[in-house]
Amino acid sequence: MNGKPLVYLDNAATSQKPDYVLNAMDEYYRNKNANVHRGIHKLGEEATIAYEEARGKVARFVGARHAEEIIFVRNATEGLNLIAMTWGRANIKKDNKIVLTIMEHHSNIVPWQLLAKETGAQIEFIEIDGEGALREDQIRNKIDTSTKLVSITHASNVLGTINAVDKIATEAHRVGALFAVDAAQSVPHMPVNVKEIDCDFLAFSGHKMLGPTGIGVVYGKKRLLEDMPPFLGGGEMIREVHTHEATWKDPPYKFEAGTPNAAGAVGLSAATEYLSRIGMKHIHDYERELTAYALEKISKVGGIVTFGPKDPTRRVGVITFNLGDIHAHDLATILDEEGIAIRSGHHCAQPLMEYLDVPATSRASFYLYNTKEEVDALVSALEKARMLFNL
C-alpha cells in the first residue's frame, strides 16, 4: 500500500477474509446454487440444506437454544431496525422509556429515535465515567418501571469498553423490560453466549468477523419471535396469501422476506467454523495482549491522548486517540502514506463525540491476524506525524 506493506488496523470497521470463507462461498455458488425453500429439485434441496446448516452453526456459535432463534439479515444495523420495527412497534407505547447509552453506534440510536417519534416514547442515555465505563448509578436509576427496553452495545466501537451485559440484563428484567444487545464489536472478538447474557435480542454483522458483507444476524428468544409481527412482506415469509390478506410462517422465516443471502450465510457459517477452530477465548486473550502492548507503546508518544479504559482486561482491541492538534483526518492521511490503515472521524458515534467534546478522533482496531510488529509500525508512523507537524 503506497509502496509499503499494508498494516490493516481498521478491523472495527470491517475485517479481512480468509480463504476458508471465500472457498466456502465459491463452493456454494459453483455446486449448490439454487433458490432456497422453493425448488422441488435436488439442487434446491442442497441449497436449502446449506442455508439451514449455516443457521444451525451460527446458533451454536452464540449459544442459542434453537436454530429458529437466528434470523438472517444484512448486518447489525438492519437487525436493530428489525427489532424496532417489529417488536418495538407492537409493544412500545407513548411515554414508555427506551434506555440506551451515550457510547452507542448510530445503528443503536437512530432506529429507536424513529420508533420514539412514531410512538411518543422517551429515550434516555446512560452516561460514562472518566475511563469510559457506564455509570453504575445511572444503570440502576435510569432503568425504572416505565422502561420497556434497554438496548446497549456489548463492546464500544470507540472506547473499546466491554459492558457487563449480563448484569444490565438482570437490571432490565427486574423492571420487566426487555434487553437487546448490539454485539457487532463483541461476537467477532470474544466468546459470546446469549443464554449466559440472558438477552432477549442480540444483533451482529458477518463482515466484521471474517465473513462476507451483506449478511448479519438477529438472535431473538423463541417465544418473543413467535408473538412478533413480520418485518418485510413478500415471498418466503408467508404461509398463505389471498387477495386481501395473508398469514405468516413461523420464525425465523416470517422475518426473512424475499430470496435470502444464502451464499452470505454459508460464508458467515464458515467464518464461525474458522474462529471456533482457533477458539474465541484464545482470540480474545491474544487481542487483549496485543491491546495491552499497543496501549503501553502508544501512550508513550508525546502529545497523545487515548480514550477508554486504561485496564486492557476491560476492553476489546480498539484504541481511539488524538495526537496534539493534528486533526484525525490529517493523521489518517500521514499514516496511510506509511501503509497503515486506521479510521478517523466520528466513528458513527456522534453523540459520544459530543459527550467527549472532541470533533474527531483516530482509531486503531485489531484482529487475530495483527502483530506486535504492526503496532510498532503504527507507533513509528505516529512519531513521523509529530515531526511533520512540528509537535
Binding site: 483526518h329 490529517d330 492521511t333 500521514i334 472521524g345 466520528h346 470533533p359 474527531a360 511533520l388 512540528n390
Partner: protein, 135 residues
C-alpha cells in the same frame, strides 16, 4: 498524494488562521459541512459595490480544510461577486500549492463552496449544481 501536503505554509494557516472570527454586521452568512468527516466552515461577508469588502471565517476540522478556507479569505477580499462565482477547483489548488489527492480534495474545497453559497445567497440566486458538487 503525499505528506508533502503538510507544508509549513499549510500548518501556519492551520495554527494561525487569518481572517478568523466574526464580522460586526455581515451582509450575509453561509455555512456548510462535509458530512463524511464533519469539517465545518462558516463565512461572513461584507459586500460593497458588488465586491467583497471584508470577510471572516470560522470553523473546525482538518488542517487542509481550515488552511484552505483561511487562504481563500485573503484571495477573495476585494474581488467582485462574479469573480468569486468563477473561482474553481484549479484556483484553490494553485492557491494551496499542493494536490491533496482524491480523498482529501473535498477538505480543500469546503471553504470555496461556503463562500460561493454566501455570494449566491446574497444575490438571491439559486445554487448551481457545480457548487453543490464541490463537497
Amino acid at each position: 498524494m503525499s505528506s508533502d501536503i503538510y507544508k509549513d505554509i499549510i500548518l501556519d494557516y492551520y495554527r494561525h488562521p487569518r481572517n478568523f472570527g466574526d464580522l460586526p454586521e455581515p451582509d450575509v452568512r453561509s455555512k456548510d459541512s462535509n458530512p463524511l468527516c464533519g469539517d465545518v466552515i462558516e463565512m461572513q461577508l461584507k459586500i460593497r459595490d458588488g465586491r467583497i469588502d471584508d470577510l471572516r471565517f470560522k470553523g473546525r476540522g482538518c488542517a487542509i480544510s481550515q488552511a484552505s478556507a483561511s487562504m481563500l479569505t485573503e484571495l477573495a477580499k476585494g474581488k467582485s461577486l462574479d469573480e468569486i462565482k468563477a473561482l474553481d477547483k484549479v484556483d484553490v489548488l494553485n492557491m494551496l500549492g499542493i494536490d491533496p489527492g482524491p480523498t482529501r480534495i473535498k477538505c480543500a474545497l469546503l471553504g470555496l463552496k461556503v463562500i460561493k453559497l454566501g455570494v449566491y445567497g446574497y444575490l438571491g440566486q439559486s445554487i448551481t449544481d457545480d457548487v453543490k458538487q464541490l463537497v
